[in-house]
Symmetry: C3
Subunit: 141 residues, 3 copies
């Protein structure tokens, strides 16, 4: 699959919650982390989403927020993956940050340079990659 | 309307599915393609969204994923518009890709330079612009 | 809280609408504006979201659209905050635009340079920051 979404997480569906218009799908990554995706019910039906099938969870880099210290706050975002900053590429306005999860998966996030400075982001630093369930697209073969 | 969303697709509402909190709206573009938008029920009520009315579907460029080969995968994203890459603007971290649809509409996507390289994106190449229903904002006059 | 989301609006929950999968939360900012967030029901339960509690509404800069003139159009986006452009930082492909709201809150948006040109954005200009309820993450202490 040749597709521009920087984050392509392979996993297996391990839970499905059905609403009227939307469906929430839990995907266990090969590395062990669980990602939650919110997709429309029509898509879930067409793709025949059910527990046990293999999927790829796609997330664009600009959809991902990076936290280095939540300071006691809890977030509504369903996806909060802990890892280590392993690469920083600086641009004029934005930087790309790569975070390697404990399970081995890599998360790429695009954040503004101001955020890189404010967080004092450095390679080797612990960080959490955060994104909403609604940011995830599922791919089924 | 002077608004920064790079993608402003004119069309006519050709379908509405009502949920408890969200409403799914289908919009037929002047070029023939159909876009699906997921908006809140309150917005649908306030804007009096119904079949037959003219709307503009707004999508920001960073919300759009580009695929050149799905390799047999099917995606949960409701919007998958096929076209041809007609322009590439390179930045330090991100590039802007313009895709012209068969109906004539233009789709602008912002993707990382790594993705441009991985996909081997070139002008003249066939490509699909992919975005979730939840990325679409509807404008009504 | 050290987190990369450029927009971190402090406020108090002033309304909650519960759906089957999603919950809509209204947050009154300290400056007086009201932001609407759409989060999953499970998150709302875990975070014990209810009227009167203090929250921080997080929104990434690329999720925000800027309008200078809606030309009679009304938008489905639940969040439309009026203010004044107070800063523009130009990059190769994207620019960052800061809008100061009447209540004093600052909104940072990332838009393409083409949009900056098309809108003729300048410091001191009146502008509206627009984003969907689904783009908002809530943080609770």
């Amino acid at each position: 699959m040749k597709i521009s979404a920087r984050n392509q997480f392979k996993g297996v569906v391990c839970g499905v919650t059905v609403g009227v218009v939307n469906v929430e799908v839990q995907v266990r990554l090969n590395g062990g982390e669980v990602i939650v995706a919110s997709i429309t019910k029509e898509s879930a039906d067409v793709l025949e989403i059910k527990e046990g099938i293999e999927v790829i969870a796609l997330v664009k880099a600009p959809q991902i927020i990076i936290a280095t210290d939540l300071g006691g706050y809890r977030l509504s975002a369903r996806n909060q993956l802990q890892g280590t900053v392993t690469k920083i590429i600086h641009g004029a306005v934005n930087s790309e940050i790569d975070i390697t999860l404990s399970g081995g998966d890599l998360v790429a996030a695009t954040v503004t340079n101001d955020s890189v400075d404010t967080l004092g982001l450095n390679e080797g630093q612990a960080a959490t990659a955060i994104f909403k369930a609604g940011s995830v697209i599922l791919a089924v073969c």
